[in-house]
Symmetry: C2
Subunit: 306 residues, 2 copies
């Protein structure tokens, strides 16, 4: 915990500026990489932009940019299409997850979800279009020597595909009302959350022509970060709702929800999150990536009090 505190006290101001700078860069690129809402048929482009440009931390694209920088990239213009591609895929997955036939959510980030605004048909198609456009963006990357475009496209298709992102969503759908083991919940989290976080980092590293050691380091970092991030989300959902009057903590804790606290309880979840946080930092240190920046981002994401 001492090293985390040290990073926090040294670098918070620098990190805030870094995150804001990168977020602005990503916002501008996202707005540029998707057709204007005036382009026919305007409904689909308005719907794509509504969900894509509706705010958010831009965690995944920032990880792509940070990984590229850590591995030596100075000019980020060739990394931005990859960073935006992962955000497009993340946004498509949220639109489809929110549909009535999935999680049936009416609100996301305090705004009505896509299908509430545009109807279910257009929401499905807006998700489809963002996923498709993501691959168009990947195609525009000038690949580095050791990682040809085929690798970038294959890794993206694998992370977003039926063995990773979509596997997580299907397993989550099927988990409703069932008694889950911790292995089941981990299976879901590693795929639904972890796969795209690992991809975000790997794309950045590969565009930077990372050494095998660097690529391994960001991969292990991403695996630990992604799982820890989701467990902390699970924990905060419980502790936050128990603090809010009128909402029962039991609602989130019931075994039918695929969360760590529901299966192993709050204390064990906290310990697991702390273990994975240490593992994330170790991945960076052991493999000798000179990355105060990635360590800071991990601290920022995982240092939320839980």
């Amino acid at each position: 915990m001492t090293s985390r505190k040290a990073i926090r006290s040294q670098g918070v101001d620098g990190l805030s500026a870094y995150l804001e700078e990168k977020r602005t860069l990503v916002e501008k690129a996202l707005a540029r990489f998707v057709s204007a809402a005036s382009v026919r048929p305007s409904t689909i482009h308005a719907a794509m932009r509504y969900s894509l440009l509706g705010g958010g931390k831009r965690l995944r694209p920032i990880l792509t940019l940070a990984a590229a920088e850590v591995c030596g990239v100075k000019d980020l213009s060739n990394t931005l299409p990859a960073a935006c591609a992962v955000e497009l895929i993340h946004t498509y997955s949220l639109i489809h997850d929110d549909l009535p036939c999935m999680d049936d959510d009416d609100l996301r980030r305090d705004r009505p979800t896509s299908h509430k605004v545009y109807g279910e048909g257009v929401a499905v198609l807006a998700g489809d279009a963002l996923l498709t456009r993501a691959f168009g963006l990947i195609a525009g990357i000038k690949p580095a020597k050791c990682y040809p475009l085929s690798v970038l496209v294959e890794e993206t298709a694998a992370a977003a595909g039926s063995l990773q992102l979509i596997a997580g969503q299907v397993a989550d759908l099927e988990a409703e009302g069932r008694k889950l083991s911790i292995a089941d919940v981990r299976f879901i989290h590693e795929r639904k959350t972890g796969a795209m976080i690992v991809l975000s980092l790997r794309l950045g590293a590969m565009i930077a022509n990372a050494t095998p050691g660097q690529l391994k380091a960001v991969t292990q970092f991403g695996q630990a970060l992604g799982l820890a991030f989701q467990i902390i989300d699970d924990i905060l959902d419980v502790t936050q709702s128990s603090q809010q009057l009128g909402k029962s903590a039991g609602k989130d804790l019931k075994a039918s929800k695929a969360t760590y606290p529901a299966v192993i309880g709050l204390e064990a979840s906290r310990k697991e999150a702390a273990r994975l946080t240490r593992k994330a930092h170790t991945a960076l240190r052991v493999l000798a990536i000179k990355s105060a920046r990635l360590a800071q981002i991990a601290e920022y994401l995982l240092g939320r009090s839980f």
Copy 2:
């Protein structure tokens, strides 16, 4: 018409064998290119295979293979991933089109649609997974000299994206209950049907390292073929249903349906289909592609009596 008759009388037997041979090749590759239904989570892979391996003419992948052969490819093993990718995208678009929030169809090829068998959530995800896998397949192609992988991925993303395939579906959704012009219907047909037929042919030609003239020829051929094919479908829907007792021809003819007969009538639709059929054959002849085979396929597809 004499040349079409000549092709028909000379080549029908050879064509049937050709189509059957290519269809078998495609079926085997499709079964290989998607995870087995036993792979976890099995629901998603079962759903993907249910729709993908449920029969069909395999028109689009056969066009990819034929275009590659016409442009000089002998060994089709490098063309099969592209051929299957277009079929995966076609299948994904059918699964999503059939959803209750879109066309709400319960049956396709005499079998229950995906959402009737697996539920809407899994059907949406099965479509997503097929689309994603298609790009994974494209990534595995060894590109020819003049058409790098970036071009293959970009063209695929463009044809399947918000300006082409998805634009057609959105415009079709929005057309319901509205008075359409012939330009509106053509806009829909060119995108919803035409774009993927053109892509199918272009991918095959590009993998074969086609000359600019050859690529232009298959593109013009595909544009004419795709539109003619859809207009003939429109016509057959009307004439078939008017021949069936208990079904009113007026149901298909009402102006709210985005079809040629609904907007310009049967006779003008027949003339337009005939004009486009001639145009398809001209594209092959004028640009000197030695392709009795593509001409035969066009004859097979467009020679249905209407």
